[in-house]
């Protein structure tokens, strides 16, 4: 597939170098928008190809490694691909292509200012996401985690309005604050106890900590990774919705929030080890915390009239599905969590694409203004409907996949609190998504048919199709996900 001498480490390096190079190219080509967009798309395309090549290797059993630098004794910047990271990277890099296409439509359609920094920061965020997904130890993960927070701050504040700046402050303070105050000490503590920061399937802590200390450490990780938006550290996510929609779509549906749950999942699998966690019962509290978040976020979403805010709270709830699964700490749960990461990514990006398309075409931002919009924008709202079905967890949409295994794990652990939380939130999800569809499709249209710009429609159709395809052909993600625990 690749030329001889171009082995796994080189591919791995390339997967980080490409977005970095794309950033540079975008910055240099700022004066020529068409060239600049070409750089974005080219970078995305090449990255996708690279990640796919890596994917083939990982599926074949390879675990590429790359040592970047040793910062200090015990602090190594090192990459190592494992199935979970591979899954995350594959999702992010695939959706970056679609999102780039969509961004072009959105940014031009809305005549947004400061497009060059926008695309550049986007590329940096992807760079950070790749690094995060492929990180080989906690320190590397932390570095890219922070880089992701920082590189997305300019995107959140893109509008430069006072609201946007305020949201940016909340965003940065919550994410950086939590990661510094909790995640970093947790990492240092782990390093002290385990003597290493490297990820290892099955965990590195062994039985060196008692249940209470384990629970405390887990809490530090969970709330430290505030990107996972477990309540009460969820406020940044709705606040960040002031960002342009492509940002909300890729970053706040895929990269950033998934970085949070990815961190938690990774820590559970490769630092604590699911067996250690399950035996000690140290994650039981997290089942409750995540369950509460799932239900509470759904209730808030129910009352939100602003479309993006509703989607944001939906994200908060859905993220906690993954956290809940991580807390259940069983192989099936991890499988479900990983699949839910992929499924939620592709469906939620569809929903945000839909919201952005509606905004671009009609400048509609509120649910109450969406009467008949489905009749005017059938493609957009059709895709939106598929995304909504996926959120509810109805087949034949991808949202079903993760839910299946998470419920399987919850019932297997006879954790009826978890089951009840999922059941209740499913009904609530329906209760806040279906009215949107009802308004959009059943109320009379108040104008002629008018779709969003073509690139946006292509993008959202693609992700909607992906949502269904992922359900019908879940082979590759399933294989990856089942390799996470299995080896």
């Amino acid at each position: 597939m690749t030329a001889p001498g171009f082995g796994d480490p080189q591919l791995l390096a390339l997967s980080l170098a490409l977005p970095a190079l794309a950033t540079l190219a975008i910055a240099l080509l700022g004066r020529w928008p068409n060239l600049r967009e070409t750089a974005t798309l080219l970078g995305a395309g090449l990255l996708f190809a690279t990640v796919m090549a890596l994917l083939a290797r990982v599926l074949a059993g390879a675990r590429p490694e790359l040592h970047l630098a040793s910062v200090a004794p015990g602090l190594e910047l090192a990459l190592r691909i494992d199935p979970l990271g591979m899954l995350f990277a594959a999702v992010a890099s695939t959706l970056w292509i679609v999102n780039s296409l969509y961004s072009i439509g959105y940014m031009r359609g809305n005549d947004e200012p400061r497009q060059t920094p926008f695309y550049a920061c986007f590329a940096i965020a992807i760079f950070a996401t790749m690094g995060l997904a492929f990180s080989g130890n906690l320190f590397t993960l932390f570095v890219f985690y922070e880089l992701l927070s920082l590189s997305t701050y300019p995107l959140v504040t893109h509008k430069r309005s006072p609201t946007a700046m305020r949201a940016g402050r909340v965003y940065l303070l919550t994410l950086i604050g939590a990661s510094m105050v909790l995640l970093l000490p947790a990492i240092v503590w782990t390093g002290m106890i385990a003597g290493t920061l490297d990820f290892r399937t099955g965990g590195i802590l062994g039985d060196k900590l008692g249940p209470v200390a384990l629970a405390l450490l887990l809490a530090m990780f969970v709330f430290g990774a505030a990107k996972a938006a477990v309540m009460p550290l969820h406020r940044w996510l709705p606040a960040a919705m002031v960002a342009p929609t492509p940002v909300s779509a890729l970053l706040h549906a895929v990269a950033v929030v998934k970085a949070g749950v990815f961190t938690i999942l990774k820590v559970v699998v490769s630092v604590f080890g699911i067996e250690t966690l399950a035996q000690s019962g140290a994650s039981q509290w997290l089942v409750y915390a995540a369950g509460f978040t799932i239900v509470a976020a759904s209730f808030v979403a129910l009352r939100a009239d602003d479309l993006k805010r509703r989607l944001a709270y939906s994200t908060v709830g859905q993220l906690s599905y993954v956290v809940l699964a991580a807390a259940l700490a069983s192989p099936v749960a991890v499988l479900g969590a990983a699949l839910h990461i992929a499924a939620h990514a592709v469906s939620k990006i569809t929903l945000f694409f839909g919201a952005g398309a509606v905004y671009t075409a009609e400048h509609v931002t509120k649910v109450s203004e969406m009467d008949g919009i489905g009749r005017r924008m059938p493609w957009t709202m059709g895709a939106f409907a598929i995304g909504a079905l996926s959120m509810i967890g109805l087949p034949p949409a991808a949202g079903f996949l993760g839910k299946w295994f998470i419920l399987d794990a919850a019932t297997g652990a006879t954790d009826w609190v978890a089951v009840a939380a999922i059941a209740l939130s499913t009904v609530l999800n329906a209760a806040y998504f279906l009215p949107i569809l009802i308004r959009a499709f059943l109320r009379p249209a108040n104008g002629p048919r008018k779709e969003a710009p073509l690139p946006m429609v292509i993008a959202l159709t693609a992700t909607a199709a992906g949502t269904v395809l992922l359900f019908l052909l879940p082979g590759v993600p399933y294989r990856l996900a089942s390799m996470i625990v299995g080896g």
């Binding site: 109805l394 399987d408 059941a423 279906l434």
Partner: protein, 560 residues
Amino acid sequence: MTESFGPLSPALVLIVAGLLLPLVRGWLRNALFLAAPVAALALVWLLPLGPGLVVDWLGLGLVPLAPDQLARIFGTAFGIAALAGALYGQSQENVAEKAAALIYAGAAQGIAFAGDLASLFVFWEVMAIGSTVVIWSNGDTRAGLRYALIHVLGGILLFAGIAAEVSASGSVALQAVRADSLGRWLMLAGILVNAGAPPLSAWVADAYPKASWSGTVFLSAFTTKAAVLVLIRLFPGEPALLWFGLAMAVYGMVYALLEDDIRRLLSYSIVGQVGFMLVAVGLGSELALAAAALHAFAHILYKALLMMAAGAILKATGETRLSALGGLAAAMPLVTAAMLVGAFSLAAVPLTAGFVSKSAIMAALAADHAGLFWFALTAVSAGSFLYVGLRLPWFALFRPAGKAPEPRDPAWSMKAAMALLCGAILAIGCFPSVLVPLVPEISGVAILTPDHVLFQLQLLVAASCIFVMVLPLLRPRAGSTLDVDWLWRELPRKVLPAWARFTRPGRAALAVLEDPVRARLSAFSRRFAAELVNAANWRTGQIAFWATTLIAAYVLIAAL
């Protein structure tokens, strides 16, 4: 032999046709609408019985197409219903409804042929989506939303139950179980929601009448019967079902007797009839299960026919309330005939399909010496004849109307559909033996024997006597009967304002307490901020003071 058809299941044919329907136009659309159920019906019979085809999906060995006897019974019934419904709905303009109806029918077929829990659930949810869209297409959003939410609830209960079952047994195989663990109770609860069992039965009468004249035909056929099918597969002989079934039979009868709107009345009667089936499933003997399947089969036919008649009346007059109708018999003879055939079949008048299936159920009850249920259901049967065989035709069709509506003749396709179903019902009623190849278990049941026919006739005539006697009491009256759905439809409307009133003093009191605290806090933070702004402007003396203090502290500690 299954291989020769590959994955070409009736479900797939219908669903794909449904997805394609909006893309084609004109006569082609109507042709497709009709051809797909025909093809599906043909496939139901062409597929050889066998263990089916295993597909690997997410590491689960799925069997989305496992033709067996039960699948064939329900597949046939669903197929006929879809075919008749498609024929009936030819003149429906709303393409969304037609497409959804095909997907809905396809999902029902999928449930019939599903050989494992996962595919079963997938089709279960597709069915919920399809039916919801059918209801929505008529534009009633609130009822549609309620319907959707209840089915999402039922779906997630079933889902959780299935997940529990899979994680407990490690396989997705469909197997008969008892409700003996929380997971299985969840599964049962999820299915019962779809079957229209109490306490959530209200959705049936709430949602079905909100669909269009043609949509209701589809709705009446699939959801509840698919639930019966799944109960037969998963919970045969589950004792709880006996009581659920009895409750539903009584509930359906009582509410139908009180109801004014034809389609609501018929919806209540669906619940009642499904109750009969549930009792049979709860009984669990081979004969009882076959009888349940057969009753579902018959019920699909006659309830579809009744809904067609009601739809024709609605289309012709724009009205379905008994209190506003009357005297339609002369103007709509075919509709009258259809309604009578359907109603008589429901009431198990001999020579109709309903008589055959109900006889089978009663025979099964008798065989198992379930006396209580036998007597109770016999009484309910008499009551059922009251509402559907007498009250409905009398007030809608025969009584002299004060203000005669001007009905329009139904379209040819509607007439054809009704004729088709009338024919099927009467044919089965007259020649029950045609069903033996489909349901061999009933071959020993006495159906058209003199004593049995006489028994039934006595029952019906006795009920007729009571009807004539108390006719004024049964006069339809506009209004509504309270049901459990009051809890979520009206209670919040009463409680929320009251709650706000109730909490207002509390909140005011809190504000009184809170305001000074907040004021003091903000004053403090202002002072603090000012302090910090000037933090760099200390006087030299202050520094000297601190230095001295520190030394003093040091020395003091040292001296101690």
